[in-house]
């Protein structure tokens, strides 16, 4: 058992590890390359160990709670329940892998101190979101995430990067403003809103029915901007102009999942699914999620730029999570939540491979992928595994989440949702299989070697990180039944919400 003092200190410690790393990196300045690499790696490892330690303790039943009174009647709360551990562990693992990838990827590029500083800051913001114990803390770290990811999006300093940065700010800051209004209103009605499984707004529903509905719409819209729900996804494809590690970790894991995580917290821990249904918001949420899935896939189909196609696929995949939560019931909820992890693994592998193709072979568009299977077997192999996972082929992780989602939809008696899942599976196949075919079956096109030559070790680091995440995609799929696997962890969470 651990002392009560440590249960207080661990959650903020997890958040602050990467902030300290960021400060050291900023102060160290551009020149000290070795120090920066060591600080990055040790911080990532330390964070992973802390998250695992907290995870085991949570499994054993200890509760973690850190409270800091920001304003009279307003508290910053960091706690570690099963759901926050799920998101925190995903971020910690992928941050470690992406750090290795980024160190190799940015071997010769300028401003690396600034990059890695903000990179660590944004991971601590993601940790803050995962560990948030009430809506205000979630909002605080949500806004910090905007502040720390903007420099990464505009990192290259090119006019398109700055335009992408501007559009990113327009969307996310407006989302933040909508969230702030909803938050003030909610605090006016319900006071200090601590997350409680099943929601705490039920008693207020009678008196402030329509107010709660409007607040719910604003909250979902605010989080929906980062989660990339269709009308609010405009910034995501443009932000692909950022360097590969940014689009890998941020737009596949941190930023996009933060939005989805916010929606999960709102539906599960603030309102509770029954109240959402009672307010008549369940069906609209399902429709929004469904049309985002379908339209996202269609847009991805139309896209010829490799990274933009992956971006649109992210837009549609994240809505699986929202769909699972909205459909409700044990199966669908766990299917949605586990997709949080699975989609992260698959998408980060795809972005890693796209980054390597772009860096080493200057491949930007789909038609340049011809015959890369022979030139880079390992990277193309990882790309194929991840692509097949996205389509939902057994025994990969993608299949598991889609299987749970489909059975959940059936259990909840929603054949339409099932239809959406099937069409999206077909659409995924439609925009991923041609890539795989080009990689392996097409004769290699005329490809000039990219100008940057990469040393042996960085090339190995790039390859190994892509392959590692691809391996995870396979391993977690095969060992889904293992008690410590994300699936069982999620089922335990889902049992808490929908017995």
């Amino acid at each position: 058992m651990i002392s009560p003092w440590t249960t207080q200190i661990l959650p903020p410690a997890v958040v602050l590890v990467s902030t300290l790393a960021a400060i050291v990196i900023f102060v160290a300045g551009e020149a000290r390359q070795r120090l920066r690499i060591w600080v990055n790696l040790t911080a990532a490892l330390l964070k992973l160990l802390l998250v695992v330690w907290i995870g085991l303790e949570v499994l054993a039943g200890t509760t973690f709670m850190f409270r800091f009174e920001l304003l009279p009647g307003l508290e910053l709360i960091l706690h570690a329940d099963a759901l926050s551990i799920l998101f925190a562990s995903l971020s910690a693992v992928l941050w470690l892998v992406t750090t290795v990838y980024a160190i190799a990827y940015l071997e010769h590029s300028p401003n690396r101190a600034r990059f890695f500083g903000f990179f660590s800051l944004c991971v601590s913001a993601t940790m803050g979101i995962a560990m948030a114990g009430n809506l205000l803390t979630l909002f605080l770290f949500y806004e910090l995430l905007t502040l720390t990811t903007w420099p990464l999006v505009v990192h290259n300093g090119t006019p398109e990067a700055l335009a992408a940065g501007r559009s990113y700010l327009r969307y996310t800051l407006t989302g933040g403003v909508v969230l702030l209004t909803a938050l003030v209103w909610l605090y006016g009605l319900a006071g200090n809103a601590v997350f409680t499984p099943g929601g705490f707004l039920a008693p207020l529903a009678a008196a402030h029915g329509d107010a709660l509905t409007l607040i719910f719409v604003m909250l979902v819209a605010g989080f929906g901007v980062k989660a990339g729900l269709i009308p609010l996804h405009g910034w995501l494809p443009k932000a692909m102009v950022a360097p590969a590690p940014v689009s890998a970790l941020l737009h596949a894991v941190a930023v996009v999942k933060a939005g989805a995580f916010g929606i999960i917290r709102t539906v599960e821990d603030v309102y509770g699914l029954e109240l959402v249904a009672e307010l008549g918001m369940r069906l609209p949420l399902i429709t929004v999620a469904s049309w985002t899935i379908v339209i996202g896939s269609l847009l991805a189909l139309r896209e010829h730029h490799l990274k933009r196609r992956l971006a649109y696929s992210t837009v549609s995949q994240v809505s699986y999570i929202v769909l699972g939560i909205a459909v409700g019931g044990l199966l669908a909820t766990s299917g949605g939540m586990v997709h949080l992890v699975h989609q992260g693994l698959m998408k980060i592998t795809l972005f890693f491979c796209a980054g390597i193709f772009g860096l080493l072979l200057g491949v930007k568009r789909i038609d340049q992928l011809d015959g890369l299977g022979r030139r880079m077997p390992w990277v193309s192999g990882a790309f194929t595994v991840a692509a097949l996972g996205m389509i939902g082929l057994p025994p990969l992780v993608g299949f598991i989440s889609k299987w749970y989602l489909a059975s959940g939809a059936l259990a909840a008696g929603m054949p339409l949702v099932l239809a959406v899942l099937i069409t999206s599976a077909l659409l995924n196949a439609a925009y991923f299989l041609p890539l795989v075919r080009r990689l392996w079956l097409n004769p290699p096109g005329t490809l000039v070697e990219a100008p940057i030559e990469i040393g042996r070790l960085p090339r190995l680091a790039l390859m190994s990180s892509a392959v590692a995440t691809a391996a995870l995609v396979v391993v977690l799929g095969v060992l889904a039944a293992h008690p410590l696997s994300p699936l069982n962890w999620v089922v335990k969470i889902a049992q808490g919400y929908a017995p």
Binding site: L70, P151, H155, L162, L169, T174, V177, T181, G188
Partner: protein
């Protein structure tokens, strides 16, 4: 005479006697005396803060003649907050002033005496509980400020100083006319008028208009941008941090305290003026070609934001507005000090020279970023606390229009702050700036940085200030 009252006397007479000593000393040896005086009077704030925390306000009357006969002083939480901003910004501006006005410059002799006279004027304006004494204090502050602006010998600075002087005299003229009418109605010049059911509206409007000119609130703000952007660095910092705010505090006091029951339509009208200032200032700040002009117009926008306290006159709104006063003052002083260093090194503060600044002057870029965070009111910073309190006050009093406005104000500030940050940090330095002048000493950038850090840190631990402000609105404290 209570010890706290003696401290009040010290608060005005320490800077005043330093100023007199400075005028007495030969011009070359004034700098040290003023620095000592400038570091001395803030020490009085510590015991005074404890006194105000205990008894809500420290009251003192000159010569024992109770008002309406004599002049009274009163230090309440609001005045104390701005005094703290004045102390911190003043100390932070000293290194920059020390470098800019070394003794062999011809105008450094008068500068150092005027610096202390400005401090006297501001402290007095925050303490005066008598309408005419307030006028005389604001007149002293304005004259000293105009002279300080004129220490920069450029045509733009001299013209800006002249325009500020003329408009300030017009403002004082209206204010004194209002005071005359108050005296005709109530027979007393005290700020707290017992026993009248309502101040006659014409006098109130005249006084408020006069103060709006001095606080440069939207329709009457014409003099501010050129005055702040052409003044020397430390002068602009202290003016942005405190001089405008002293007039605004007087504005609030007259509204809440002297006018017993100000008409509600006037409150909403002034709220609308605040809203217009907010929008106009933000848009103008976004379009300015020069860094200092951007910061100056942002001040106009945030003064409009502070005017929203009138329609939302609740205890929580007062705490929020008072806290925003503190955070905004610190952030603005930090930005002007950073901008001063940038102008010294790059030769001009035009936006075109900013790209690549984060590598040439990292501390200044970081100060601008931190102060920008406070201006936008992003969560951890002091600006957020103020905005949150005002928002919940707006929600409680059902002021939906104000609520949406406050929320949008953050967005509008984000527009011009991120424009500056994108320019300084992420635009590629297209061509090297022709030649860089020698860098000012490190301490000036560190001073600006500490102010910006303070503006963010008080957001994390706002309790002492909020409890202080919670003691009561100027009007409610009888």
């Amino acid at each position: 005479m209570t010890p706290a009252a003696q401290l009040l006397i010290g608060l005005v007479f320490v800077p005043l006697s330093t100023a007199l000593v400075a005028v007495l000393l030969p011009p070359r040896r004034r700098r040290w005396a003023v620095v000592l005086g400038g570091l001395a009077w803030p020490c009085l704030l510590v015991p005074l803060s404890m006194a105000v925390a205990r008894e809500q306000s420290v009251v003192m009357v000159f010569g024992g003649w109770a008002p309406p006969l004599g002049i009274g002083w009163r230090l309440d939480a609001l005045g104390l907050v701005v005094l703290w901003v004045h102390a911190l910004a003043g100390i932070a501006a000293l290194p920059s002033a020390w470098r800019r006005f070394d003794p062999d410059l011809p105008e450094s002799g008068p500068f150092w005496s005027l610096w202390m006279i400005l401090a006297t004027g501001v402290n007095l304006a925050l303490l005066a509980a008598d309408l005419f004494n307030l006028y005389v204090a604001l007149e002293l502050t304005t004259l000293a400020a105009v002279a300080l602006i004129a220490t920069d010998d450029g045509i733009a600075a001299l013209a800006a100083a002249m325009r500020y002087l003329l408009l300030a005299v017009l403002g004082s003229l209206m204010y004194v006319l209002g005071v005359g009418l108050v005296y005709a109605q109530t027979g007393s010049l005290a700020m707290h008028q017992p026993g009248i059911e309502a101040l006659n509206n014409v006098a109130l409007v005249l006084m408020l208009t006069g103060l709006m000119v001095k606080a440069a609130i939207f329709p009457l703000h014409v003099w501010l941008p050129h005055a702040y952007s052409n003044a020397p660095g430390p002068v602009a910092a202290i003016m942005a941090a405190v001089v405008g705010k002293a007039a605004l505090v007087a504005f609030w006091r007259i509204w809440f305290e002297t006018a017993e029951a100000p008409p509600a339509q006037l409150a909403d009208f002034l709220g609308l003026i605040g809203a217009a200032a907010l929008v106009y200032g933000a848009i103008a700040a976004y379009l300015q070609p020069r860094l200092k002009m951007v910061i100056a117009y942002s001040s106009i926008s945030h003064f409009g934001f502070l005017l929203l306290l009138l329609p939302l006159a609740s205890q929580q709104a007062f705490q929020g507005a008072g806290f925003h006063l503190l955070a905004h003052g610190l952030a603005k002083a930090a930005m002007f000090l950073a901008a001063a260093n940038i102008v010294v090194v790059l030769g001009s503060d035009s936006i075109r020279h900013l790209p690549g600044l984060d590598k040439r002057m990292p501390l200044e870029a970081f100060t601008l970023a931190l102060a920008g965070v406070t201006l936008i009111g992003l969560p951890p910073s002091g600006g957020f606390t103020g905005k949150w309190m005002l928002l919940s006050a707006a929600w409680e009093t059902g002021g939906w229009f104000w609520l949406v406005l406050i929320v949008l104000s953050g967005l509008m500030s984000a527009a011009y702050v991120f424009r500056i940050l994108a320019l300084t940090c992420f635009h590629p330095a297209r061509r090297a700036v022709h030649h860089l002048h020698p860098r000012p000493p490190k301490i000036t950038s560190l001073a600006a940085l500490t102010l910006a850090l303070l503006a963010v840190v008080i957001g994390l631990y706002p309790h002492p200030v909020l409890d202080l402000l919670g003691a009561g609105m100027p009007g409610m404290v009888r």
